[in-house]
């Protein structure tokens, strides 16, 4: 079946079988198309009663400007591209929601580009962007498109860009993030304050920029508390539940078992706890577990997860606001840091024998 056969009819049921154009409005209001355009773009420059007449005609015809024509003429699309590494990751949904909300208010639409680990898709979105299909982009993926640069060493993309969550090293664009290093240090020190001395650290993907900040914070915390950094205690993960499960197995196989594990995502922490429980190891009685992000499920995990709260919606909003400022010729800070919060729940306790 096809739904393509319907006749188009203007919104309020008047007019013939096609969308109203600026001409139709102009004719009805007895003005030129230029005036109609003005009423929409800069109402104050049109006399009051002309404006009223035009507005009435617009309502009557159900006129909606054709965006392609407008865009062709004005070289603006009122669209923003949001590039992210993995749409399926639940961590992003609230951030996206914050972005969408803010963009919407500013009159911009949001196009999503899911990289999904495919260089081909990345190239596509780079082309997409340089083809002028969007006015700006928010990058959550930690690097610039294809890093293609022209002879002058300037990126070929010449629209405003904003980096969100993952800083882009060497890129001269505004960055919105949380202080990963400080947050990570804070959690590490909290763990020590609860009596832990052997604290394992479950990382995100090795090449991840923000991960480097976090592990630095972990080392900061250790050092501040007079503890040595032990590479043996660092387990590599990738933020997913599955890598938490795997890390649990790794841990269970060890003879010298840490008393606490600091996971840099809640997903990993939850997966880890699961493996531990299945093996009869209790959290937090036998081993403490801490997370990072404070996703919705952290509070209802069993036990409720002690973690670092990231203001995800606010991060999205801040990035969108920064981009809109840029798009409208305003300036925006080079770096915006949002505050994290240590959320103490039940997954961390004193180690046995303390």
């Amino acid at each position: 079946m096809s739904t393509g056969g319907r006749k188009f009819r203007a919104g309020s049921g008047e007019g013939a079988g096609r969308a109203a154009r600026i001409q139709d409005v102009a004719r009805l209001a007895d003005v030129s198309t230029a005036t109609v355009s003005r009423v929409l773009a800069s109402p104050n420059v049109v006399s009051e009663d002309t404006r009223a007449r035009v507005l009435e005609a617009i309502a009557k015809t159900g006129y909606v400007p054709n965006p392609a024509a407008r865009s062709l003429r004005s070289q603006k699309t009122y669209m923003v591209l949001v590039v992210l590494p993995n749409l399926a990751n639940t961590f992003f949904s609230k951030i996206l929601s914050g972005i969408e909300e803010t963009l919407f208010e500013a009159g911009y639409g949001m196009i999503i580009g899911d990289l999904d680990g495919s260089p081909e898709k990345e190239a596509h979105f780079a082309a997409f962007t340089s083809a002028g299909r969007v006015d700006g982009a928010i990058l959550l993926n930690g690097h610039l498109f294809g890093q293609s640069r022209d002879a002058q060493g300037e990126p070929a993309i010449n629209i405003p860009l904003v980096a969100l969550c993952e800083a882009i090293p060497g890129a001269n664009i505004p960055q919105i993030e949380v202080d990963n290093r400080a947050a990570s240090r804070r959690m590490t020190q909290y763990l020590v304050s609860r009596g832990h001395r052997l604290i394992a650290y479950l990382t995100g993907p090795a090449d991840n920029v923000l991960e480097k900040e976090r592990i630095r914070g972990y080392r900061d915390g250790l050092r501040a508390e007079g503890l040595a950094f032990d590479p043996e205690l660092v387990i590599e993960g990738d933020y997913t539940i599955k890598s938490g499960i795997d890390a649990g197995r790794d841990l269970l196989g060890r003879s010298r078992r840490p008393t606490a594990v600091f996971c840099t995502s809640d997903e990993m922490a939850i997966g880890l706890m699961r493996t531990l429980h299945s093996a009869g190891v209790r959290v937090p009685q036998d081993i403490s577990v801490a997370g990072f992000d404070d996703i919705e499920f952290a509070a209802v995990a069993e036990p409720a997860l002690t973690t670092i709260h990231q203001p995800r919606r606010e991060l999205g909003q801040a990035a969108a606001t920064a981009l809109v400022d840029l798009l409208q010729g305003r300036s925006t800070p080079e770096r915006i840091r949002l505050k994290t919060e240590l959320v103490v729940r039940d997954s961390v306790a004193e180690p046995v024998g303390t």
Copy 2:
């Protein structure tokens, strides 16, 4: 700071300070603009060596067609709008990922419209759609835009539409969904087969179309097993973790407590289990809990959740495929039903005293 001041340079570093247009390519290849256009749209209609010359010129200039111009002329945008009730809901992320993937392969971009309970936003996206900014739309929100209809009773939107997950009553558009009723019935009967007689049912939002199917399935299952439907055992929720928590409190306050609770979302089931545990009620020893959806966290919940698996990525893919078929003039089935799976894990057991 502003990043707007960069000069634009064509991809490969050649040419002056502006993007190449079709004219530039035509001149360089010594053909007309029409031929360049043909090389891009229907290469086989152009002679081999002209094509080669044009392709070379395209590469040399770094030409990328201007989408606004193309769109204005051809009345196509190669964009699809995806409307959903709540972007922040993690249930949607994998579906979106499936949609994006399929759309991308077909050469379409994905614009996200998050309704977020706002009628104003809904109106916006309706206008957006009728303004021709997208070629088609996938609706996950269970109803048509603003249900504005013109004099003839036809919807004002005349582009292909596809309904995903939530059927749209009375709408004559293809529908992609799972068999909610059968799945719900199956779970109910499974619960009965494990010895349960008093099975509570935790619903989604009351006005939700798909919810009506599910509760029907629950009643089917009860009836098939010779059990009476008891409205007292129906608790109203809204798919969120929070409503699961609330339902738990409700249940704890009851004197006649059911031995099992069938929740129509995993989020609610997880929230519910949390409340139960906090009150010292064990799952599944004291009460069994079943979910719906099989989100990632279901498998690592404590206890691991028995639930109905929905093929979320496949749902997204199927909807996108159906829409693309429509957009390209092919036909598509009126209704596509994807199979669900009963996933037995640890949250359901025999009731005590059986």
